[in-house]
Symmetry: C2
Subunit: 243 residues, 2 copies
């Protein structure tokens, strides 16, 4: 049994970052605008300047603002961003979550094709072990759904690892972890309720077969079938609605 993570009080710099990015997202801050001075922000938020500086340094790190000594800090253009980040409020709305899922799927599908060209026998063995874990999970009435869910994630990671593209791997690890954190419970219920695990496994078996055969076109095709289907199954769930 895992306990829910408690709602730890966010740090002061984090709150300021959230406030500033909120203002940016709301259009109150436009690219090119100058931020208030650190001193002004400090008094406004009622904190020390060091706290404001930490917050702004994070925004600078993402390329969201640029600061010039003696002048101030300015909101930069969207194309100046240097990081892709998923904010927690993306998971508030199910629709947002499905969009993230589609983004992830797009990368996974491409990566599956690359994996079909770079796979080794060891890679295949690893994937088939994961498939076996999925099949075993079916007969586990207690934790089967959870095991299946984790095995599906493992398969994605296994595919990404053999594709010889560490950037894509990093991206998938990041986005999939974020999605899984916010999707685990409903996805697990999904598997359990619809009893579609067998069909999902079959889709993935055929995907791994294509990779094993070294057929990138078939791998891409089957990856698309499975991951699009999975997203569709999730979207079709009656209880998959905004809280």
């Amino acid at each position: 049994m895992k306990f829910k993570s408690l709602e730890r009080t966010p740090s002061l710099p984090q709150e300021i970052v959230a406030s500033l990015t909120g203002a940016l997202h709301a259009g109150e801050l436009q690219p090119g605008d100058r931020l208030p001075s650190e001193q002004a922000l400090a008094t406004e938020f009622g904190v020390a300047r060091t706290v404001v500086r930490e917050a702004i340094s994070q925004l600078k790190y993402d390329g969201i603002v640029q600061s010039r000594v003696g002048v101030g800090a300015f909101i930069s253009q969207p194309q100046e961003r240097t990081a892709f980040r998923i904010s927690p409020e993306c998971f508030k709305k199910r629709k947002e979550l499905l969009k993230l899922l589609r983004l992830r799927n797009g990368v996974v599908i491409e990566v599956a094709a690359d994996a079909a060209q770079a796979r080794s026998s060891r890679d295949i063995a690893r994937m088939e072990a994961i498939l076996k874990e999925m099949r075993d999970a079916i007969s586990d009435s207690l934790h089967g759904a959870e095991r299946h869910f984790e095995a599906e994630r493992q398969l994605i990671l296994a595919i990404a690892k053999v594709a010889d593209n560490e950037h894509a791997l990093n991206f998938i690890v990041m986005i999939d972890s974020q999605i899984a954190e916010n999707l685990r419970s409903v996805a697990v219920k999904n598997i359990r309720a619809t009893e579609l695990a067998a069909a999902a496994i079959e889709e993935q078996v055929r995907l791994v077969e294509a990779i094993k055969r070294g057929d990138p076109i078939a791998a891409r095709d089957r990856a698309r079938k499975h991951y699009d289907n999975a997203a569709q199954r999730l979207a079709d769930r009656a209880d998959f609605v905004d809280p």
Copy 2:
């Protein structure tokens, strides 16, 4: 004539971030390890603690480290990352750049299919205007290659904008800007030298046609053809080698 951006001295926190991420990438720091205390790092780097704190706060922002009051800062697991970031040294090696290009293409291709289902007549008009700009650029012997390069980027953004997936849009804006910054000169030379612009335009015309027709499968297919071809043309360049 544009001047090269001067080599501005990186800020102290930035250097510390680079040093720490370098140690992490080199395996000297493993997930779970504890960082030296802020005081120790400050004396080691010869800076004030505030500078170290800014550096660590950036790493915390990315989920690379987690800190606990009274204990210290710890390297977190890779799946705890909350941001995808492209470091400048990714562009040092051409091979890395091609991998980033493939990552971008994967998303663009998926997005093209979504765009085919969500496009409006205004969207199509915008895309066709961009295609016209490409054709016009051919007869511009002076800046034609640059204009073509920028128009290709604009088309990608235009497609991403109509696909109704702001996460994918954000991702594409970010990664494409980064790639373009580091690819502009060689890509422009590519267009100019090989005189393949006409063929590239034809590929994109067919892509826009598919989107206009509302045919996601064709859009995906043609997007793949064009962007894979573009990457291939780049990779095939004789002068596209590591410096």
